[in-house]
């Protein structure tokens, strides 16, 4: 109980932010898994990290521009102080999403092939950006750009809350269109729904969610929470609404438990969150197997 109190006292936003990040990934993961674009999730996490690394080069002073527009100073504004990495993370992810959404126009390369190219280029660029970063310690840069649940502060928490609400809002308002185009885009087009436009919106929202979550909680956490909670939901439920509910609940429950375990047994919080989620997956899978279904 003492450990729980300590975690809540020292890392309240880490706990709350971890819950939100898990819920965002659990929700978006259902679409990533059911659309069979798991590799897009992996690629977007690496692209987002490359975007953060790019921000450390300080080639474009976005923060300064926004600060002068808003009439505030960067040091006074904690949100703005962290704006540039999040901005480039998001920008890189949206560019990749736009490229990916156009791949249907060509028939020479497979979508997997294109994503594979983007994936390795993103990893390579990240390394090159870090090498040219003015911050001396490469390990320090690596830890900053990979994100960590424990570093989630108030502004990151509110950003995650904003992403969560925005994602829910978009998927609630445009539920019909997004449901149809992700189920059968060809027929949706034939029936008068602009599949290209709606799929573009869908991928942009997914890209935004993945890139900003990656920025705050790391690529390993994000990718794992895109895949595993959704897989648990699909394993357990025979109703679409229950799949969403289970994936979002699983995504939200495990991070605080894993932060507690990481704190108690002195592990990194991100990997602990992934392994704890995997244990839950194994338990669910084993239970399903034992019941013979």
């Amino acid at each position: 109980m003492e450990t729980v109190n300590q975690v809540l006292e020292f890392f309240p936003y880490a706990v709350l932010g971890g819950i939100l990040a898990g819920m965002i990934c659990g929700f978006l993961g259902i679409f990533v898994v059911s659309q069979r674009v798991v590799f897009l999730g992996a690629t977007l996490t690496q692209v987002s990290v490359a975007g953060v690394a790019f921000s450390f080069l300080h080639l474009i002073n976005i923060e300064g521009m926004v600060a002068s527009l808003l009439g505030v100073t960067i040091t006074e504004d904690s949100f703005l102080h962290n704006f540039e990495p999040a901005f480039f993370s998001l920008l890189f992810a949206v560019i990749v999403v736009l490229i990916f959404s156009q791949t249907y126009k060509q028939k020479v390369l497979t979508q997997d092939g294109i994503l594979g190219i983007i994936f390795v280029v993103a990893v390579a660029l990240r390394i090159m950006f870090i090498q040219k970063s003015p911050i001396a310690e490469v390990s320090e840069v690596e830890s900053i750009l990979k994100g960590d649940i424990l570093f989630i502060g108030q502004s990151q928490f509110f950003t995650l809350a904003g992403i969560f609400l925005f994602t829910l809002l978009i998927f609630t308002i445009f539920q019909k269109q997004l449901k149809f185009v992700t189920f059968d885009a060809e027929s949706a087009s034939a029936h008068g729904i602009n599949s290209r436009l709606w799929l573009l919106l869908f991928y942009i929202v997914v890209g935004m969610g993945i890139s900003l979550t990656t920025r705050f909680v790391g690529d390993v956490f994000t990718f794992a929470y895109l895949i595993i909670p959704a897989s648990i939901g699909l394993l357990v439920s025979k109703k679409v609404s229950h799949v969403f509910l289970i994936a979002v609940i699983a995504g939200g429950i495990i991070p605080p438990i894993s932060i507690f375990l990481a704190f108690k047994y002195d592990f990194s919080s991100g990997p602990a969150a992934v392994v704890t989620m995997f244990i839950l997956f194994l338990l669910v899978y084993g239970y399903k197997k034992l019941r013979g279904s």
Partner: protein, 249 residues
Amino acid sequence: MEKEILKFTNVTIGYGKKKIIENISVIISENDFIGIVGPNGAGKTTFLKTLLGNLKPLSGTIQKNSHRFGYVPQRDTVQPLLPYTVYDVVMMGRYSLMGIFGKPTKKDWDAVEASLEHVGIQHLKNYNYNSLSGGQRQRTLIARALAVEPNILILDEPTNGMDTPSHYSLLNLISRLHDDNKLTILLVSHLLSDVANGVKKLILMDKDFFQFGNIDDVLSEENLQKTYSSEFHVNQINGEYVITSIHRN
């Protein structure tokens, strides 16, 4: 004289700069039942995409009167991982009629029920689409297309991969939809036998070859030879076409 719905005049179809078939002229009228037949890779899907408006023609004009398509894709292209029910899937057919922010109303629920009843799967409406047999899935997709209340029903290879009873049961359903509801139907198939004894008009197509007209005019040994680069005998027995392929060693 039936009202014209769609008119292709000297249309060339293809992707990018690649022409697949040139100078297509087709008129689709109300109450038509048209079969579209050709070997694999003949350009049937490209023609369909152009007709549906998903692909722009490379040249020529397409005139469209007010119409609504009901589209039934190839069954294998729809393999969802999410456990949608049959009812969910058929309701999707109503989405384009609800407007961007609209919610399903009694009219939509009634239309879905009527579509399910039409294709004889009302008892399956709460089943998961994934748990259905091939024939039941195809009926679900047809019900979804009917829920649109279409002027033209387009079916892309609807009997692909089906066992024989399901195959003929589905062809009977399609014929019934045309006969009872006066629905204009375009049936795409690579199987001549599927269309020869059902449709009124025929499109025979292969690369650089396109024929359209009444079935009696188009279904000739000469045209089949041009389409399939193989010889056929076309006979009529008791008013039914019997088409046999001539194999020579």
